[in-house]
Symmetry: C2
Subunit: 217 residues, 2 copies
DNA sequence: GCCTTTGTTGTACGTTCGTACAATAGGGGC
DNA sequence: GCCCCTATTGTACGAACGTACAACAAAGGC
């Protein structure tokens, strides 16, 4: 009978912090923000609840870290192929549309997490900063694509027109993401992508391929 | 010294319920859902906190009522002029755009309330029903306008095309509402309306008036 | 193999939450 | 003007919350 079974594992602060953050996001996704207590989160992570305060000064700190982590992951999943200059513009655009409007980005759980954090934004300066940075990062990634599309289309443009169209494209994607996440059985990914492609290509005056090309995942 | 000053006023259940609902919405808008406790809400309404349980069986019941109340008010503010058949189509559309993307609909506080409720939707069947009804009501109001625009434009259409365009228009408005509510100083109402008009009229193939007409509020 | 470091646990405390219930009092019906 | 109904109040209770702190133990340095 071996008695050298350790009661717990020591992990590096970085790894443990990430585990706690991901446990937080899972709890919020599954049961909502109000259920994301330190006890529930630590149970999800499989540690004692008092450990949270060793890695995060307050619970609010954990929430901020989780918000930044979640938004960064979403933005990366959405726009990872936007800057891949080896592929033609239309391909990149369609890939971004597909990535944004398919799971796991367009997803009820992800929306839950996002909505939970959004309502904290006005009451916490750090949350506000994270939110602003995320939104601007998204738009800053989108704008070069818009400019490239207008140039390819020989449409004369100035920064204001690009920003105008970036706002519009962003709004279409945000709106479809929202509705597709909330009502997945009414608006399946294929429908969302179809609407987004039609609308975005119309906004950008790009020719719309009639038959969908094969987009690698 | 008059001593006949009453300690409180008796109100009808209907009025008191509405007062409590509106107090709930004010608290959520100001301090977030987590601060919307029965004590905070009743203080906002100027009554004893135990009164809430006399008019609402549980706090969850109050939240559901407040959610339905809020969404109904938002939808009404947004689309009140959609069915006014005495005005030309383009006017009605532009009025809806303006109403949707200006305060008090596009508004940080309204977004806070909405986000707070949204994260309750997956965990409560009644909330889910309210949400579904609101969304479908919005789209059902929008679709006749789309169909009318296509007809006026002599574009042949079937229900699927109308639905497609309704989803797109809805997404544009939702997305702009979202971003305008979150970042009002970066996206003022005038900008949102400009983008929405351009995009929606493009989706519907309607001629866009170059100079903004005077839209009554 | 011991020692130091610190990641980890368990317990305890004060606060605030939603709920329950008996007592009070406003106000319309008669 | 009295009485009944019930809207309203005040107090109390158990549960769960975030936080604080001392004791324990895993794991690398020597």
């Amino acid at each position: 009978m071996s008695e050298n079974k350790p009661k717990f594992r020591r992990e590096s602060p970085e790894l443990r912090r990430e585990q706690l953050i991901e446990a937080t996001l899972r709890v919020i996704a599954r049961k909502g923000v109000s259920a994301a207590t330190v006890r529930e989160i630590s149970a999800e992570a499989g540690v004692a609840f008092s450990l949270i305060r060793h890695h995060f000064k307050t619970k609010e700190d954990l929430m901020c870290a989780a918000y930044a982590y979640h938004m960064q992951k979403m933005a990366q999943l959405s726009l990872s192929s936007a800057t891949d200059q080896t592929r033609p513009l239309a391909d990149r655009l369609r890939q971004c549309i597909k990535d944004t409007l398919s799971p796991p980005v367009t997803n009820g759980a992800a929306l839950q997490v996002w909505a939970g954090f959004i309502q904290m934004v006005p009451h916490d300066a750090r949350m506000k900063q994270i939110h602003r940075d995320t939104y601007l990062g998204f738009r800053d990634t989108l704008e070069p694509l818009i400019a490239e599309a207008l140039t390819a289309n020989k449409t004369p443009w100035d920064p204001r027109l690009v920003e105008h169209k970036a706002i519009a494209c962003n709004a279409v994607l945000d709106g479809l993401w929202l509705e597709g996440s909330m009502l997945p059985d009414m608006l399946p990914a294929a429908r969302l992508i179809e609407v987004a492609e039609t609308t975005l290509f119309a906004i950008l005056d790009l020719p719309l391929a009639t038959a969908p090309i094969d987009i690698p995942t």
